[in-house]
């Protein structure tokens, strides 16, 4: 029976003259959370984008369940959710419409389930508003609702608590803990650390 596991072997990546990822290797099993820290420009976002296959490393490989992800990139992508700096939302659609399209492209989604996810992040009262009228924190909450709806084993998150208030940070902690409790994995690039409720966390410090 295959056990979901992410392994990174000897990852090297250059951006122009800069050697950003230098022989990075680690493995992440079910229920594990990796917190990627480092100064601005240390390569946190680059690492996440390389892990999910948006950037091809010059050397090294990423293995998913023992298989090189490049062999079947689509199957690997179906198993991961990536949230970048900015929530992937359309300003001219409402929060609900955004989730309907964004998540609907990946999985079948019922209206009730969608409403529950929006309620979970406190968006029930404003989910009918166009995203351009929402605050950055509200947009982040919509993105978190989308993340929770995806039900995939691997989450790759870039600054998941950015723009969130205290309650929002707690919500991130709860969602991450639930993901780990389900046997999912989380890799999060952070500046200020993940909420204390997320445990266990392994820390990876990237040098600038």
């Amino acid at each position: 029976m295959p056990v979901e596991q992410l392994e990174v072997e000897n990852l090297h990546l250059w951006r122009g003259e800069r050697h950003v990822l230098r022989g990075l290797r680690f493995a992440l099993a079910r229920g594990a959370c990796l917190e990627v820290c480092g100064a601005n420009g240390s390569g946190k976002t680059t690492l996440l984008r390389t892990l999910c296959g948006l950037i091809y490393p010059e050397e090294g490989r990423v293995l998913w369940n023992g298989e090189d992800v490049q062999r079947d990139l689509r199957a690997f992508h179906a198993a991961l959710a990536y949230l970048g700096h900015e929530p992937p939302l359309k300003a001219d659609l409402t929060a609900r419409e955004n989730l309907h399209y964004w998540i609907g492209v990946r999985r079948r989604l019922g209206e009730e389930e969608l409403s529950r996810a929006l309620a979970r992040v406190g968006a029930s009262s404003w989910c009918g508003r166009r995203v351009r009228t929402l605050s950055a924190g509200q947009r982040r909450r919509v993105a978190l609702a989308g993340l929770a709806l995806l039900h995939v084993p691997l989450w790759l998150l870039d600054e998941p608590t950015t723009n969130l208030d205290g309650e929002g940070r707690e919500l991130v902690g709860t969602l991450l803990s639930e993901q780990l409790g389900r046997g999912g994995m989380v890799i999060a690039a952070v500046h200020q650390g993940l909420p204390a409720s997320v445990s266990p966390v392994t820390r990876l410090e990237l040098a600038a």
Partner: protein
């Protein structure tokens, strides 16, 4: 459990999975969308967004009408002369109007992270690119085809069969224009102020559609059978449907790096 290390330091974070649920629990909870459903939603999203931004939607159409209406002022108001020029005016207008809307085909999706999400969706990026191109054709090609008879009448073409032929020619001919344009739009994604480069890439590849489209329009105006150039336009459309989404998807992947 916490450890810190430089990127060159091997780091292994293994967690005992015995306490966790079945290994397939997460996968079972999700019913993946089929490729067709995904493409349908990508198409609907673009259509809905276009109708929310009507100004952007009407720009190519307004441009098409303006170009056509300026010709009689610049050349001659004589109907016979205008009728002769009508195929060229219609097709150059349609080509440039279609090009005008191309810049927006992927640009907003690249800025707001939608393309990234498409690339990581586990769905075929090729079919999603096809859906986006289809949306572009529905939002520019079809309105241009429907507006073409009005423009043709302003150029002295009044016979009903000729007008029907013109709708058909512009309708079919704008399919390859959208498909070729999608490759150019994807290739120029990472470039600021890419309009000029997009035109330079797209216009030469659009020449066959322009030639056969103008010929079909000319035959329609003269009341002659226009099946041959229409078939050639159809063949170009089929070739484009087969190859352009693959090329656009590859170009989008490169631009995301």
């Amino acid at each position: 459990m916490s450890s810190t290390g430089s990127p060159v330091t091997p780091l292994v974070a293994m967690v005992d999975s015995a306490r966790l649920g079945g290994p397939h629990g997460l996968a079972e909870a999700m019913q993946p969308a089929s490729a067709l459903e995904a493409a349908r939603l990508a198409l609907l999203r673009d259509l809905q967004l276009a109708f929310r931004k009507r100004g952007q939607l009407l720009q190519p159409l307004a441009f098409f009408v303006m170009v056509a209406l300026l010709f009689p002022l610049a050349v001659s108001p004589e109907p016979a002369r205008l009728r002769e020029l009508a195929p060229a005016v219609l097709w150059i207008g349609a080509l440039l109007a279609s090009l005008l809307a191309l810049e927006f085909l992927f640009r907003d999706d690249a800025y707001d992270g939608t393309l990234e999400q498409y690339a990581l969706s586990g769905q075929s990026l090729t079919s999603l690119m096809f859906a986006k191109t289809l949306a572009h054709w529905l939002l520019t090609g079809v309105p241009l085809a429907l507006m073409a008879p009005v423009v043709a009448m302003s150029l002295g073409v009044v016979a009903a069969p000729a007008l029907a032929g013109i709708v058909l020619a512009v309708g079919v001919g704008t399919v390859p224009l959208s498909l070729i344009g999608s490759i150019g739009a994807a290739l120029t994604l990472g470039i600021k102020r890419s309009g000029t480069l997009l035109s330079l890439l797209t216009l030469p590849l659009s020449l066959p559609a322009l030639i056969f489209g103008a010929r079909a329009t000319q035959l329609a105006i003269h009341g002659a059978p226009l099946l041959a150039p229409l078939e050639l336009l159809g063949a170009l459309a089929v070739l484009g449907i087969t190859l352009a989404p693959i090329a656009a998807a590859a170009a989008v992947r490169i631009s995301l790096e």
